[in-house]
Symmetry: C2
Subunit: 108 residues, 2 copies
DNA sequence: ACAAATAGTAAGCATAAACTTACGGTAAGA
DNA sequence: TCTTACCGTAAGTTTATGCTTACTATTTGT
């Protein structure tokens, strides 16, 4: 259930901004924190959550720590999302009105 | 920013279960509530949130209210997600190591 | 060796939100 | 008409979590 944690992560606006910042390339924690309205420790905590969810990875660089997007986590999320497409969906929406299988009424 | 609310919605496990239940076809509120460990009003509240996010729609059916997945909301979410793919991503991950543009060091 | 820079962690607080029970409202069948 | 089934909303409680301010650790450069 790793897509669950991925969704939890990206539900937070600040975490989304961090993630979108990383889309333009790897960056160290303080670099990411610059331009965000929260403190650097907050960014550290967010990055930890993102990493636990498999959405980012990090790499040491001196005293710095460079974070970058991990496509694997995104892949799982996308795979889960794609389960919701298919012919059935549109046929349902466009009022073909299938007969609602389990529908206990008082009298047939 | 409707993908934001979509992500918030699907971050909740109960809401995900409701959404996945609807994947197998439209269903009334009490039918959805059956098989879930929460009360029926809770399901009603969740469905309202899902509807506000554009992920589901509803249709009256007597005293019942039939909910079904709205592909439009899913589309926006998917479009946002797709922004994170591209050649850049994999080149970043596989240690091609771009030079980290903004990197103030004490001495060059 | 010492100082500076960078980052992670702990403790504490405040807000959001998910759930329950109770109530009101509408549509259908006898 | 009156009863039953179904649904949404209000009020209130509890839990989760995002943020801040310390503090500690590690690495680099002089």
């Amino acid at each position: 259930m790793t897509y669950g944690s991925a969704l939890s992560c990206l539900a937070d606006p600040t975490r989304r901004r961090i993630f979108e910042r990383l889309r333009s390339g790897p960056a160290a924690v303080s670099v990411v924190a610059r331009g965000l309205p929260v403190s650097r420790p907050a960014v550290s905590q967010h990055l930890k959550v993102l990493k636990d969810a498999g959405l980012v990875n990090d790499r040491p660089d001196g005293t710095r720590r460079v974070y970058y997007i991990d496509p694997d986590g995104l892949g799982e999320l996308r795979a889960w999302l794609d389960q919701f497409w298919g012919a059935a969906l549109d046929s349902f929406k466009n009022d073909l009105e299938p007969q609602l299988a389990s529908r206990p009424r008082r009298k047939p």
